[in-house]
């Protein structure tokens, strides 16, 4: 079983709340859920929609075909009716010339409910009944998430909806032990678990929800959240806090990250740990604020003047977002480097059911020294390139000098040519250790595939579903899904790439940025490129179809 519900309407019609409650109700009935959100960059009007897909098996992407449309306005019907399955149904209060339409008697229901803001909840009741899911679960979820004074009206609306139609399906209810979470909330939870104590940022979609979520936990978790004057302040402030010993993070999207670039370079020479998130959206410049893309890979790898070591981790799904973010803090602390987390609007916003995070798997390693012999050298030249770290103010008689100039081992300005050379080499030596602990990409599908897909970050889910389908058809396909992406891990690719007949690159950008890195770092290059940069995410169906069309062309 695998069903998709689409809810469409205008901005301001309460789609977000609807989706958040509906996905939770279905999850509580024991199903795997995947919710894809498609929003326009406006506060009122326009057309937004949410697709809630659920199944008794784990799902990783959204579907093209729909089983049910809940149309909060006529436009939602017109825009999506082509995708409705022949045996699907459309629920709306609008007059529609459509056989599959179940009309909501909205005027009658309005008479029974005082607060007309809860009318969307009628739709929830209808959906539950349609699939034969229990009214009770709906009620429980509403009671747990809705503010008290609105509960009663919501329950009436839910029940009204439930009583309106006959069930088409009788779906069983299973035990539910999962959580449902989107990429940004998972990322935020990872940062909080890792002990991030200062988060500063400036609102910019799709990073804003990180700022909002962490701010909502500020008092409870003792985290300072500062809405700074600009992204330049954000990174500089986070660096100050990290220098003084706390774990700090900042996030933005491409435009805000661009403003951080001078400070990113500073972080490189300052040798203070920092975690920076770039939640990509469509560029260049303002681009499309609520649309997704993976076009900042090359940018974040090279951003910053001068040469310095950094690490870039691309997040692949909400689970990965949690664990990798926590890991990013340890790596930043260990090497005293900037670690950049790359996510994107699609992953930031889609939510998925997963196993609850295992907090016992999170370790916090600070690499801070509590004593030093002799006069402290912040930039002591060592074999590993890593110098001892102490915290200013914590050891009497010792001072810590962090500097943006080239400096000597104590942190004082130097123009000495030999020392300069030594310092560059010291910093770059950190990469040797870092490369040893890189995580190789996930290998999915065939372990020795004829056709090797390469992709990174949020395209994982779509590629995974495509690979599974192709494997079921007996086609030898596998995929390497990069998470750690800079320094670039090459071991897996070197092994598997050698034996593959062809390499297929799947990316959400126009210039095949991963492929260009592969060409730079390995003897391989993609034979086929499946690229998309219209602002809409890939899903499993599309990747499957586009791979099939490669086969058909041959």
């Amino acid at each position: 079983m695998d069903y998709t519900i689409l809810v469409g309407g205008a901005a301001g019609q309460g789609l977000d709340t609807f989706a958040n409650i509906m996905e939770k109700i279905i999850k509580r009935c024991g199903y795997h859920v995947f919710t894809y959100r498609d929003y326009m960059s406006r506060v009122r009007g326009g057309h937004n929609f949410v697709q809630i897909r659920f199944s008794d098996k784990e799902i990783y992407s959204f579907k093209d075909k729909l089983d049910l449309i809940l149309a909060l306005n006529k436009e939602s019907y017109i825009l999506h009716k082509e995708r409705l399955k022949a045996d699907g149904v459309i629920i709306s209060h609008e007059e529609l010339d459509e056989e599959r339409h179940i009309k909501l008697p909205i005027d009658e229901i309005k008479k029974k409910i005082k607060n007309h803001k809860v009318l969307n909840t009628v739709g929830m009741g209808v959906i539950l009944k349609y699939f034969g899911l229990p009214l009770n679960t709906g009620r429980e979820v509403l009671e747990s998430v809705i503010r008290k004074k609105y509960i009663e009206d919501n329950i009436i609306a839910l029940t009204e909806g439930y009583n309106l139609i006959e069930s088409k399906y009788e779906l069983p209810v299973e035990k539910d032990e999962k959580i449902i979470i989107n990429g940004n909330n998972a990322l935020a939870l990872g940062a909080i678990a890792a002990g991030c104590k200062l988060y500063c940022g400036y609102p910019m979609t799709p990073s804003t929800s990180l700022l909002t979520y962490i701010s909502s936990k500020s008092n409870e978790m003792g985290i300072v959240v500062d809405q700074v004057e600009d992204e330049i302040a954000a990174l500089n402030m986070a660096l100050g806090a990290s220098y003084a010993g706390v774990r700090a993070m900042t996030a933005s999207s491409g435009g805000g990250f661009a403003l951080m670039v001078e400070a990113l370079s500073f972080a490189g020479i300052l040798e203070v740990p920092i975690v920076i998130v770039n939640a990509q959206r469509v560029g260049p410049a303002t681009g499309m604020a609520t649309r997704t893309e993976q076009s900042d890979l090359r940018f974040v790898i090279h951003a910053g003047h001068g040469e310095f070591p950094r690490m870039v981790i691309a997040l692949r799904d909400p689970e990965d977002a949690f664990y990798q973010t926590a890991r990013a803090f340890n790596i930043a602390d260990k090497y005293q480097i900037p670690v950049i987390i790359l996510t994107d609007l699609y992953l930031a916003d889609y939510s998925k059911t997963i196993k609850p995070f295992d907090y016992n798997r999170i370790s916090i390693k600070r690499y801070i020294d509590r004593e030093v012999k002799g006069k402290y050298k912040k930039y002591e030249i060592t074999d590993s390139g890593i110098s001892k770290r102490i915290i200013p103010g914590k050891i009497e008689g010792q001072i810590v000098i962090g500097d943006s100039h080239e400096h000597d081992e104590y942190g004082h300005i130097t123009e000495d040519p030999d020392l300069r050379t030594e310092m560059v080499l010291k910093r770059m030596r950190k990469l040797e250790g870092l490369k040893e602990e890189l995580e190789e990409p996930w290998l999915i599908g065939d372990k020795e595939p004829e056709y090797l897909i390469v992709c990174w970050g949020s395209t994982y889910g779509a590629v995974k579903e495509a690979v599974d389908r192709l494997n079921e058809e007996g086609i030898s396909v596998g995929a390497l899904v990069f998470g750690d992406i800079w320094p670039f891990p090459t071991k897996q690719l070197m092994n598997i790439g050698e034996k593959a007949k062809a390499i297929i690159d799947v990316e959400q950008n126009a210039t095949a940025q991963l492929d260009s890195i592969i060409r730079e770092e390995t003897p391989f290059e993609a034979d086929y490129k499946i690229l998309k940069f219209n602002g809409r995410p890939f899903n499993g169906d599309e990747v499957y179809n586009r791979i099939k069309s490669i086969f058909n062309e041959k």
Binding site: G195, G240, A244, V246, N360, P392, G393, K394, S404
Partner: protein
């Protein structure tokens, strides 16, 4: 451990006002009996901003214009540190103008000493935001064509709780100002007039010397209107001293967990403490 500060050989020009400011800073810190490891000097880039390299304290020598954000970060991370920002007029009012304005709005407990030589010293004599209209510089060949910025008046309108002006040529007075600024709970701005003997041939030592005067004992620094008048007085006579002072709630006092808890840097980190946040996603 004593509260003695070592000085290191600076790369400033002989006769530069920065030497006096450093002397005053050392005296202020020693007289306040603050130990070197308890102080962090945060600076940007410029002649003034080299200060953390020339005196034995914790230093954070950041980017041009960007001294205030990391200073705020340091103070938020460890409220027990004495945080001092040392920066030039270009650093603070030009490249870093936005941070200056918004830093004031926070009122975080930082002492900010601006070495105002009314010129870009390090980059060889271009106009700064405080260079007078019409002044000929190494870049403005027919004179500066934009109005100067008045830092004290700007700080007052932004609601700064401690606004003062000093002069590098009056060390005892400057030491007293610095001590008061460091002790002040909140953001304290001290704009310090400082001759640049190489690039500013207009605002020389004697130019300042002939104009500055101490605010009289009778001056009421709690009166904002009077303070605004004094802030605007910059011509034949220039008042020095505390122009405005008021007690205000500081930024960190608005965070209960910082106000009533240990410094953030001392909080024990345990991932399991955060596990409860999972509940809302179940």
């Amino acid at each position: 451990m004593t509260c003695k500060y070592e000085l290191y050989e600076p790369a400033w020009c002989p006769g530069c006002g920065n030497y006096m400011i450093r002397t005053a800073l050392k005296m202020a810190l020693e007289e306040l009996e603050i130990k070197p490891h308890e102080v962090v000097i945060v600076s940007g880039i410029g002649q003034a901003a080299k200060m953390p390299h020339y005196i034995s304290v914790n230093g954070f020598n950041g980017l041009h214009g960007r001294a205030i954000p990391p200073a705020i970060g340091v103070k938020m991370a460890n409220k027990e540190l004495h945080v001092i920002v040392e920066s030039g007029d270009g650093d603070t009012y030009g490249e870093g103008g936005n941070h200056f304005i918004h830093g004031i709005r926070r009122n975080i407990d930082i002492a900010h000493f601006v070495h105002n030589n009314q010129i870009y010293g390090l980059t060889k004599g271009q106009a700064s935001p405080t260079t007078a209209m019409g002044q000929i510089t190494t870049l403005q060949f027919d004179g500066v064509k934009v109005e100067p910025l008045n830092p004290l008046a700007l700080a007052l309108t932004m609601g700064a709780g401690f606004v003062a002006r000093g002069f590098s040529g009056d060390i005892p007075h400057l030491v007293a100002l610095m001590k008061e600024a460091i002790k002040y709970k909140g953001y304290a701005l001290v704009d310090i007039l400082q001759p640049c003997v190489v690039w500013n041939r207009v605002n020389t030592f004697s130019w300042y010397k002939n104009r500055v005067y101490h605010l009289p004992e009778s001056y009421d620094y709690t009166n904002k209107e009077e303070a605004m008048k004094k802030a605007l007085e910059f011509g034949d006579r220039i008042p020095i001293g505390v122009i405005y002072k008021e007690e205000k709630e500081t930024y960190l006092d608005r965070f209960d967990f910082i106000k009533n808890g240990p410094p953030l840097v001392d909080v024990e980190l345990n991932p399991l403490d955060a596990e409860k946040l999972l509940e809302e996603f179940r």
